[in-house]
Amino acid sequence: MSNTTYRVLIGKPGLDGHDRGAKFIARALRDNGFEVIYTGIRRSPEEIAAAAVQEDVAAVGLSSLSGAHIRLFPAVVECLRKAGAGDIPVIGGGVIPDEDITLLKEKGVEAIFTPGTPVDQIIAAFTAACSKHHETRNA
């Protein structure tokens, strides 16, 4: 009997301390049956990737409201790759202009959500990313 509980990690890279959104998403995911590891604020991309690897999560969610996403989100993707975990999808959220979204996706970020997105849509994205990840890793 194989279990299908999804484990995800929610991280706040960089120095931004506004964690209202990250904590909301963490709780909403919990309320939708996910096991959520929350890193707390002010983490480096290296720390987030190392935690994601040890916890063997099926997806990583990142939040940054300070405008540093353009450097920090791809840095997490890169750190995961270096740790042999490039298969773990990364989803980002924050105050992010459209042209940055394109750029971030090119650099390997799976999806980006901006303020005002209904939470159901975000949970659906995590579910899809986790499900895809579970399929490929069990293939």
Binding site: M1, S2, T5, G33, I37, Y38, R43, Q54, G84
Partner: protein
């Protein structure tokens, strides 16, 4: 490495690759198809020689902060450490927030500290089995010391703590009722009492209360169990606590208590896994039964088991 094949995973595990360790624990926790091969590959001597420390206590006592300090001290002695941090699953959604990790983030870049958060997942059995397997995998990956941290509230957490060689119960002043509620259960299983936040008002009263309890609970040799003071946020008292633990451990190893506990824990894990494996089969039988549902449930259960004895070979 993403370790998509079993060979690559086992190879990674042998090389102590963090990704492989993380994957292996998940596979065993989810009871995946490669679980047996993973467990078989582990070095039994390493598993035997590791020390498993249980840390439990009410919310707010400072368990994670204390654990983090114990990690630092162990690391300064060159030990490789594994941590299994257990949090309750929400009974409503089946999800969980595994929050202990926050306090251990400062060790995340240390390759010799392996932290794994685990949810109770509301399983009747299975948690001991899964956590026990995580202990074995971490031990097999070279962790000389493994810490299991859990909130000592529910029955499943109480069982978990039986996996530990030594269990410390952490308390802090000002938690009042929680400690009262805990006395009955956890004080029974604790080998050591820790008064954390010992610099706070009320710590001395708590210390004296616990000294009294410790005398009541004197072990067979009539030696009262130790009560230690710590201020985990400042790292105070951690060396002394570890010295107490080491003394206790030597004593247990010499007296045979260590082996007795390991075999008890072994039995518990076997039972847990057996129940976990039986469960779907029994469930299937119950669901298959098309009979009307107003007979006696207990008699029906006995009936099913009787049937299963006949079908014993089919249970694998």
């Amino acid at each position: 490495m993403a370790h998509t094949s079993l060979t690559s995973l086992l190879d990674g595990l042998a090389k102590q690759d963090p990704r492989a360790i993380g994957r292996a624990i998940s596979i065993v926790e989810d009871n995946g198809p490669e679980a047996d091969a993973i467990l078989l590959s582990l070095d039994r001597d390493l598993v035997k020689n590791t020390t498993v420390l249980g840390i439990t206590g009410p919310p707010g006592a400072g368990k994670s902060t204390l654990t983090s300090q114990i990690i630092s001290t162990c690391r300064s002695r060159g030990e490789r450490v594994g941590i299994i941090a257990i949090d309750p699953t929400s009974p409503l959604s089946g999800g969980a927030i595994l929050g202990d990790r926050i306090r251990m983030m400062r060790h995340s870049l240390d390759r010799d500290v392996i932290v794994r958060s685990m949810a109770t997942r509301g399983r009747l059995g299975g948690l001991c089995g899964a956590a026990g397997a995580a202990v074995r995998i971490m031990a097999g990956a070279g962790c000389q010391r493994i810490i299991i941290e859990t909130v000592g509230v529910g029955q499943s957490e109480m069982d978990i703590i039986r996996l530990a060689d030594i269990t410390a119960l952490v308390m802090a002043p000002g938690l009042g009722d929680d400690i009262q509620a805990m006395k009955a259960g956890l004080l029974e299983v604790a080998d050591l009492l820790v008064i954390n936040k010992a610099d706070m008002a009320g710590a001395e009263t708590l210390f004296m209360d616990m000294e009294a309890v410790a005398h009541e609970r004197a072990d067979k040799s009539n030696r009262p169990i130790a009560v230690c003071r710590t201020v985990a946020s400042e790292g105070k008292g951690v060396e002394e606590l570890l010295a107490e633990i080491a003394a206790l451990e030597n004593q247990h190893r010499a007296s045979g208590e260590h082996d007795r506990r390991r075999s008890r824990s072994y039995d518990l894990e076997v039972l847990d896994w057996a129940m976990e494996m039986m469960r779907p089969h029994i469930l299937q039988k119950i669901q298959k039964d098309s009979g009307e549902r107003w007979g006696d449930p207990k008699l029906q259960a006995a009936n099913i088991l009787k049937q299963m004895k006949v079908d014993h070979d089919k249970i694998s």
